[in-house]
């Protein structure tokens, strides 16, 4: 009998967690509709859109989650399913489940590019509108692709480094998660560096766009290289990780870091003329909101109509943040 009590208690516990989770979730309560599938705009039918993003493993993705919640709330006429995933396998499972939930559109920020491409292609072929944000697929399977200009990210940031170093110096490169975003940034930056023979890349490794990972990678780089003049960190979380490593090693003099993303803490320090952060480059996580708004708009207008005038590829311009203009990019109330 005792074990029945235990089981009962635990079942109750699970139900409670599910209930609380439901409340804490982005959208209260479940709606059961029998075998609803993606269909053309029928009057009175509530559209359903799934948003699939990577888990908030660093500040930028936390910003993505914030803006995804925010933007979806501005469209209460649509039923939203917002899910994050730790790795591609998780994300594929979530996307398959969203399909059986009968979503009309999906807004996807891929955990990694190549592994998510086959499932995206399959969902696209099943007639679901696919809006892809930031990390792209390896095939053109998205109806709309929204991204920051990552080649400009790499080029502008590298040109700044070359200029500030006077064309001569030793630099370390921190790469991100393997995906189209990272490839575009790194290749564009390297193209600039290799055109300037005075710039020497002494260390290069992946910090996975993560603070802790970047810190440990940076520690190893510091041990192996007695002189590093500048660090191309390509992300503000990685910049903070690199800073911790520099401080712990007592090497935070005569070196500076260029991050990326426009995290408010970093922008503040650029504004305050911190020698460690002479500049930053924007990469707004709010672009997920643009993707969400686009998906909602296309469904409302009717997919076939809207696709006549909505561009397939939208590229967001990025800006170099310097002490002079930093106040234009400083949003103390933002999460990122």
């Amino acid at each position: 009998m005792n074990r029945f009590k235990t089981l009962f208690g635990i079942t109750l516990g699970i139900s409670l967690v599910m209930l609380v989770g439901c409340k804490a979730g982005t959208d209260g309560g479940a709606t059961a509709s029998g075998g609803a599938g993606p269909s053309a705009a029928t009057p009175g039918k509530k559209f359903k859109i799934g948003v699939s993003i990577p888990a908030a493993d660093h500040g930028w993705t936390a910003g993505v989650k914030y803006w995804a919640d925010y933007a979806s709330k501005q469209n209460p006429d649509i039923e939203w399913i917002i899910q994050d995933a730790k790795e591609p396998g998780d994300q594929i499972t979530g996307l398959e489940n969203m399909k059986t939930q009968g979503v009309d559109a999906l807004v996807i920020l891929a955990t990694e590019s190549a592994p998510l491409t086959p499932i995206a292609e399959k969902l696209h072929n099943a007639g679901i509108l696919i809006v892809n944000v930031d990390r792209g697929f390896t095939l053109p399977v998205a109806d709309v692709f929204v991204e920051g200009d990552n080649k400009a990210f790499g080029r502008k940031s590298a040109e700044y480094i070359v200029k500030k170093l006077g064309g001569k110096g030793k630099i370390a490169i921190l790469e991100g998660v393997p995906c189209t975003v990272n490839t575009d940034r790194v290749n564009a930056a390297k193209a600039v560096f290799s055109a300037n023979p005075g710039i020497q890349i002494v260390a290069e490794d992946s910090g996975k766009w993560n603070r802790e990972k970047a810190e440990s990678v940076m520690q190893n780089m510091l041990v192996a290289n007695p002189q590093i003049d500048a660090i191309w960190a390509s992300d503000d979380d990685m910049a903070l990780g690199a800073e911790s490593a520099l401080k712990a090693a007592g090497r935070n003099k005569n070196v500076w870091i260029l991050g990326g993303g426009g995290m408010k803490d970093i922008v503040k320090r650029v504004m305050d003329k911190d020698p460690l952060y002479p500049a930053d480059i924007t990469y707004p996580p709010s672009m997920i909101g643009f993707g969400i708004q686009t998906a909602a708009g296309i469904l409302r207008a009717g997919k076939d109509n809207a696709k006549k005038y909505i561009p397939r590829h939208v590229m967001i311009d990025l800006d170099l943040i310097l002490p002079e203009n930093a106040k234009d990019y400083y949003f103390p109330d933002s999460v990122y």
């Binding site: 029945f4 235990t6 089981l7 699970i14 029998g34 594929i92 499972t93 939930q101 190549a114 086959p118």
Partner: protein, 332 residues
């Protein structure tokens, strides 16, 4: 049989049926779509294949923490082989077949290595395979240069999304619903594993070695050989699973593929009622465990629950399973 014993024996199955009924009651046709039910079997097929092998290892008194990393390593090898053969103009399906055999062979070798160190090196299985967890992942990362390895052969993806059409079933777009090859492999491996454990002499040896190694030795069972065999078998199954995963993604992200597979597989085994102390266990329980874990993530999406709660729900399910098992021991 006392009521509480029944519950201890079939607790996981009862839980699965309970959740199933709750889903049918609240989601109705949405839950019962053939496509959704198919997903429940196919989504964790790779973990399922590994969990079957893991059940045998755990019953024999061992454990293997290296399976997730080994999945990445074998998957990386399989894609490299496919790309090599595809470039040489070989029939793509033949290339996939050869790559699968290659991945299974590499997996079996790695499993054999684990087994040798455990059986003859007399190092605790936990420690040996912890080494594998770090080592195999590292080899995968080296092969993939830290990133993804993309397949150059579209046939691999066709295999990943191919399968047998389920009769009369149509998806929302009117197309056939395929029972994916990965799900078919999972079901087949589970049946073979169950047969091996319950109907063969080898199965009886596995149970004997796990229950009481010394007594097994006295009864002329070569316990080292049995241990080698279960680790090698698990390694081969990991190789097979790695191809299923690689096919679904048409690539292998060497840093992310197979992450936490060891925990998922062990969780499924434990939920299914196999004792971590060895000597006792069942394959069908493990299959129930895998399905239970898949059903939880299915519900997370359907009920719009924040994904961050998933771990807590899983944790509770695992704890319940272990608590009930502990009760079973006391009864004896």
């Amino acid at each position: 049989m006392k009521k509480s014993n029944l519950l201890a024996e079939y607790g996981a199955l009862v839980a699965l049926i309970l959740l199933f009924v709750i889903n049918v009651a609240t989601r109705g046709g949405n839950f019962l779509q053939i496509e959704n039910l198919r997903n429940l079997v196919s989504q964790n097929a790779a973990v399922g294949v590994i969990a079957v092998g893991m059940t045998l290892v755990i019953i024999a008194g061992g454990i293997d923490l290296s399976v997730g990393s080994l999945t990445a390593m074998c998957g990386a090898v399989s894609i490299l082989v496919i790309n090599k053969f595809a470039a040489s103009g070989m029939n793509p399906n033949l290339a996939i077949m050869l790559a699968s055999l290659g991945a299974i062979a590499i997996g079996a070798l790695a499993g054999l290595f684990n087994g040798i160190v455990v059986a003859y090196g007399r190092v605790a299985a936990f420690v040996v395979t912890l080494g594998g967890l770090a080592g195999f992942r590292s080899i995968a990362l080296v092969l993939g240069n830290g990133g993804e390895i993309r397949s150059q052969s579209p046939a691999l993806q066709d295999f990943g999304f191919g399968g047998m059409a389920i009769p009369f079933a149509k998806d929302a777009g009117g197309g056939p619903v395929l029972f994916y090859w990965s799900a078919i492999v999972f079901v087949a491996i589970a049946l073979i594993g169950g047969f091996l454990l319950n109907r063969t002499r080898f199965g009886r040896y596995i149970i004997a070695v796990g229950a009481n190694p010394r007594a097994s030795e006295y009864s002329a069972i070569n316990i080292q050989t049995v241990r080698l065999a279960v680790y090698t078998l698990l390694g081969a199954l990991v190789g097979l699973a790695s191809v299923l995963v690689a096919a679904r993604m048409n690539s292998v992200g060497t840093g992310s593929v197979g992450l936490y597979y060891e925990l998922d597989a062990i969780a499924a085994v434990v939920i299914g009622g196999t004792s971590l102390r060895g000597g006792k266990g069942r394959i069908w329980g493990t299959v129930v465990g895998v399905l239970l874990l898949t059903l939880i993530s299915n519900m997370i999406t359907a009920y719009h629950i924040d994904t961050n709660w998933q771990g807590l729900v899983r944790g509770i399910v695992i704890l319940v399973a272990v608590l009930i098992q502990r009760g079973k021991k006391e009864d004896e």
